[in-house]
Subunit: 483 residues, 2 copies
């Protein structure tokens, strides 16, 4: 199924009020070009990396920017905007250039994920929606990738819909989780919208509603003879659930040439229960019946279950993934890096902070990734100014970090530029990949990382370096500010 990038969702009004009041001023003044970077400062969960997601929706948003009459009527009631500005909004046309990391790229703190350059009032308008979309989807994709990795090849299904923060959190969260390697979702709307495989078993209410547990199992198995996963923990997993499941598998399904697909356990001590369930199933000749578990799972719990050799074939993961419960916010920001006036005079901009690590990187930039040619592992990223005449064969000359520089001198390396053009003066110039392509790309991206960077706890730090020229510009601006 083709990944449906175009939608009818109009997010134009999904903006902070100040974007519009600032825009009205920019629109009245001499026109200037602004350049903004979207980036974040810390990997969530103290992880070693982050998985970039949400670009498809940013593209969709930008392509559908349109202030409708009822939007303008509403804005008129605020007594802030004059009719000239409302006319301008009515005819608004996005004309910026946009570069971005491809969706699924593994990314790191303080490097631009999206760069928007164009009429300052336009680049300013899109700040809020871009942050809302990227902060959400990137956060969930990053969490889901950890959970999928913990499951070590076993399918993980998103069960988070009922605990997500509303509709978009559930639907786009399911999509971000799929990008990161989940195998499907219980969420029907996400399945329809994005073509993600939808999965499901049965609820405790289905078992409770029947007179007996066996009756419920029998009924379900007869109705869906090739697609039945029985929920075995409504009463007692080992005394009742598994024996009834075995009876259904042997007496109802097998005689008709069908196979029970699986059983699900949603409570209790999952290590003990799955081991005993596996033995009961195997002893009954049902080694083909898969065991799936759910109930407050995340990367740590899944790691523990597998370390204790729980015989689990797949996982259903809910609230801890869909809300990224352990650390629910990616604090992405969108900062001005450069202004170009009507005389084409370019001024780099910096935002100083008391904490040096929060001080922004100025200027219109490019991001380069250095790979070890032998292992194909990423060694570090280098930010340069977009105007620098970078010789990728001599990339070590652009690197300031001594360890990275040394590694590059003694080893063979390859360099790739990470951000790609998305919009050119507002026109889409990017061939948006399908969701399956994004998912494959994400998997390949994670494989380029060293085991040290991928550790769940105390990961190795991945180096994001500044070129000499960029570093000097930054120092210069910091000094200028202090003067």
């Amino acid at each position: 199924m083709k990944f449906n990038v175009r939608s009818e969702e109009n997010l134009t009004m999904l903006t902070d009020l100040y974007q519009l009041t600032m825009m009205q001023i920019y629109n009245e003044d001499e026109k200037e070009i602004g350049c903004f970077d979207m980036f974040f400062r810390k990997n969530p969960d103290k992880a070693g990396f982050t998985v970039f997601a949400g670009l498809d929706k940013v593209i969709d948003y930008v392509q559908n920017i349109k202030f409708e009459e009822d939007d303008l009527n509403y804005l008129r009631t605020l007594d802030l905007f004059d009719e000239d500005f409302l006319d301008y909004l009515r005819d608004f046309k996005f004309e910026c250039d946009v570069w971005a990391m491809p969706e699924g790229t593994v990314v790191f703190p303080n490097e631009p994920l999206i760069t928007v350059r164009g009429p300052a009032e336009q680049a300013q308008l899109v700040e809020t929606a871009v942050l809302n979309i990227i902060n959400h989807q990137t956060r969930i994709a990053t969490k889901a990738e950890r959970i999928v990795r913990a499951a070590d090849g076993r399918p993980v299904i998103d069960f988070g819909l009922r605990r997500a923060h509303g509709v978009t959190a559930a639907v786009d969260g399911a999509k971000a989780s799929y990008v990161a390697g989940m195998a499907g979702t219980s969420n029907v709307l996400a399945g329809k919208k994005y073509g993600i495989p939808v999965k499901g078993t049965m609820a405790h209410s289905f078992v409770q509603k029947a007179k007996k547990e066996y009756d419920a199992f029998e009924r379900y198995a007869k109705r869906y003879p090739d697609k039945t996963v029985l929920l075995v923990d409504t009463y007692d997993v080992l005394k009742s659930g598994i024996p009834n499941a075995i009876k259904v598998a042997k007496e109802i399904l097998e005689p008709q040439g069908h196979k029970l697909q699986g059983i699900r356990i949603d409570s209790g001590d999952l290590v003990t229960l799955t081991k005993k369930a596996r033995k009961l199933l195997d002893d009954a000749g049902l080694d083909y019946v898969k065991i799936t578990v759910s109930n407050s799972l995340d990367e740590y719990e899944i790691t523990r279950l597998l370390a204790e050799e729980a015989p689990i074939d797949s996982f259903g993961v809910g609230e801890r993934n869909i809300t990224a419960k352990s650390d629910p916010v990616l604090g992405g920001v969108y900062k001005l890096t450069e202004v170009e006036d009507q005389n084409e005079l370019v001024t780099a901009k910096i935002k100083i902070s008391e904490s040096q690590e929060k001080t922004t990187n100025p200027g219109f930039k490019k991001v380069w990734r250095v790979y070890d040619s032998l292992t194909n592992k990423a060694m570090g990223d280098v930010l340069t100014l977009a105007g620098e005449d970078v010789d990728v064969m001599r990339m070590e000359d652009y690197v300031t970090d001594e360890a990275l520089k040394e590694a590059m001198v003694v080893e063979d390396y390859m360099v790739k530029e990470l951000m790609v053009p998305i919009f050119n003066k507002g026109a889409l110039v990017y061939d948006v990949p399908t969701l399956e392509e994004v998912r494959d790309f994400c998997k390949a991206q994670v494989e380029t990382l060293t085991d040290g960077v991928k550790k769940f706890e105390n990961p190795d730090k991945y180096n994001v370096d500044l070129s000499d020229e960029l570093y000097e510009l930054k120092l210069e601006l910091i000094e200028e500010m202090a003067a």
Copy 2:
């Protein structure tokens, strides 16, 4: 502005796949009536109570349930549903009875917030969307109420849009925050959709883009002479931001008969900075200029700032409210409590759990709240079976908790039934209040709680009791299950 309950948003497909596979079976079998309760088991943030929100959206969802042709076409591709069932979905009409707490009610663990009773397949279908909506909005309203209470009368504005989990999290989160007492939002779409007051100041980029900080301030003040709040921390609050703000107030605004509305500080030590800023402003004769602060605020940080006597007039609160970062999930569930077959035989249902506190309360129930007549404070809640002939003048007879019973015997009390009818056989029978009415009701509700229940840390436990009859039914079913 009238609270716009009706929307065009069709959430029919926002459901877990298993609801539809179970529904297909229920639809083929003899029709039964099911009764389900939506409730939660723990107050988030270890709080003493929770603020119920989202009912307006549940009503909107239920009224707009409609499977469209493209939904059915999608479901057909799943190879799970036959044409009879798809025809049934095409003509689906919701015919359940629904009761709920009014939005803004203060609620407690294990009491029904919403009860749905009707054709089992219909009551089952709505589970997922009801949980998604209520879990989200109730979680955010509960967080926002704490933050508003910490601000002790000072306005709090929602600045969370850019960090929310997608569109709905931001828009409905702003609405839930407004229900809980916030004074407005920066979110323009939420303002338009719900009529919430929208507020804004300016971004750091606005100040950075100008040649000098003063130029930016002057420009903004001239453009919005009666509505200017200047962001004073782009460079140095005390050496540059405040002096420039004073200059603009005195030299640009006052001579024209205008007043600078306020200044905003978004970084640094807010206690020290606001005290020094206040003094500088007052010394310049600008005691009317308000000080607003933002930056990682929540109920604890606001309490600390005010305890240290920071002279703050209003707060902008972002990610910690809009994601309920400290504890982002309300674990609301939706459990079967009763089945009525075609012969009108009613069977109460219970879901046993290893942990006794997770065992559900069976049967179709009502919820009563007991108030001390003198203080108007809520003393406790009592769950009874809906069929019990409750004499509210003798409510102590229905109470099993000894302390509550004793308190009721010696004191004057009033009893109110909490849940109200929302739908009668699918027809809306509830006069949906405006958002302002809900907000006022919520405020009054919080005032009925004792200070002990409202404590941020280690609050008093509020008693939710079962009537004798309900308690006996529960014991009976537990024994039956064990047999």
